[in-house]
Amino acid sequence: MIAILDYGSGNIRSAQRAFEKTKHQVIVTSDYQEAVSADGLVVPGVGAFGSCMKSLLKIDGDKIIKERQQEKKKTLGICVGMQILFESSDELLNGESIKGLGIFPGRVVRLEAPVIPHMGFNEVKVDETSKLFKGIEKERFYFVHSYAAKDPVVGANSYCDYGGGFLAAIESQTVSAVQFHPEKSGAAGLSLIENWASGL
């Protein structure tokens, strides 16, 4: 079973439908036990870094993700759901820097391109050891964000370039994450979701 963590407003429905294309049963939940015990957990991104972290903490999302990591259960972060896995971000909340989960070291930084947000389909330079991108190495994925992580993690690091290189996807043993939206990346995105789900 795949659980999609529901911890705020936003379009979770598309993620739900996209993950339902796999063979797994999908639930949308904010329940601690359900989220901890699911075979796979999806952490969608909601709004900005700070508000996302605050909403996540309200449902003990930090503990859910860390407990799953200890139990070697797989978690997939999407968009801001990837960013909050790092220690901190340039994106402030009312002038205040909000701490991330710190599962991966490093800071999420603002993109340096003439046009921000980075919005649309872009290519990814896929890590040779990547499992997520198997069979879809040359495809484009849908990005919509103004901030991104740049510090490589232990595991597979796949990069995108928009005013400089940044991490498009990271894959560690248990926690993986994508800066783009696989649920909005057409057929290629559905393949990526299938690749992740088949490893559960």
């Binding site: 439908r17 046009v115 919509v144």
Partner: protein, 260 residues
């Protein structure tokens, strides 16, 4: 490695039905927005925009149903505009499966709405739709409402600057002078807005000839929206992409999602 130009077909939806002329031979139901959106998706559309022109509140719930059904089948971004005047409206649409909302008149009446939406949901969900028309304003363009028929006296560039400052993530730039004429996008308008806008610009209004799309990109547009050239089957999305590709612009190739 570079970002692909987005091609965005726009569907006008009223009471859950597509209202502009549609000319696709393989359509079972020419008025079904979900089926139309699916066809555009298969043809390689990079996003879909629904413009809800429903007046009644009963019709609004029909629109939510259309958004839900589309989001169930479409795995590309969906923008919904029309009649949005509060964060509650936005929340309902996002919950139904929209990725972005576009606002227009409501933001002119109450600009704080921009701040409220971007603070609640992030600026990436918010598109400001501007109906610009040539006038004696200092920039040469003013903001209009009601399909260009009512002048607001507000300078289009001033309004765009304010909207960006308040937190919009994207500009849908409609030219009321070229809209429906198929005489080409208003290139002067696009380049004026490009000069002041750090957020993406979607050019809209006037696409007719296949060469119009590349011209809009050369003038500074990031994405291209069109309605009638697609609905009437004058060009297919793949034709436009082929032309852009030939001219050196980056495009994404097609997107047929398998049935299984």
């Amino acid at each position: 490695m570079s970002l692909a130009t987005r091609i965005i077909p726009c569907l006008d939806v009223k009471d859950g039905r597509v209202v502009k002329g549609i000319n696709f031979l393989n359509l079972v139901d020419a008025g079904d927005p979900v089926e139309m959106a699916q066809i555009y998706n298969d043809e390689g559309a990079d996003e879909i925009t629904f413009l809800d022109i429903t007046a009644s509140s009963q019709g609004r719930s029909t629109t939510l149903e259309v958004v839900r059904k589309s989001a169930d089948q479409l795995f590309i971004p969906l923008t919904v505009g029309g009649g949005i005047s509060s964060t509650d409206d936005v929340n309902q649409l996002l919950r139904a499966g929209a990725d972005k909302v576009s606002i227009n008149t409501a933001a002119l009446k109450r600009p704080e709405l921009i701040n409220e939406i971007s603070e609640s949901f992030g600026s990436q969900v918010l598109v400001i739709s501007i109906d610009a028309k040539r006038s004696r304003c200092s920039s040469g363009f003013e903001v209009t409402t009601h399909g260009g028929s009512i002048s607001t006296g507000i300078d289009a560039l001033d309004w765009i600057k304010e909207a960006i400052e308040r937190g919009v993530g994207e500009i849908l730039l409609n030219s009321m002078d070229t809209d429906g004429t198929r005489a080409g996008y208003d290139l002067e308008l696009i380049s004026l807005v490009r000069a002041i806008s750090p957020v993406p610009i979607i050019a809209s209004g006037g696409a007719g000839d296949i060469s119009d799309f590349a011209k809009a990109l050369e003038s500074g547009a990031d994405a291209l929206l069109a309605a009638s050239v697609f609905h009437f089957g004058i060009y297919r999305i793949s034709d436009i992409k082929r032309d852009l590709d030939r001219k050196g612009f980056t495009v994404r190739q097609g997107n047929q999602i398998g049935q299984n």
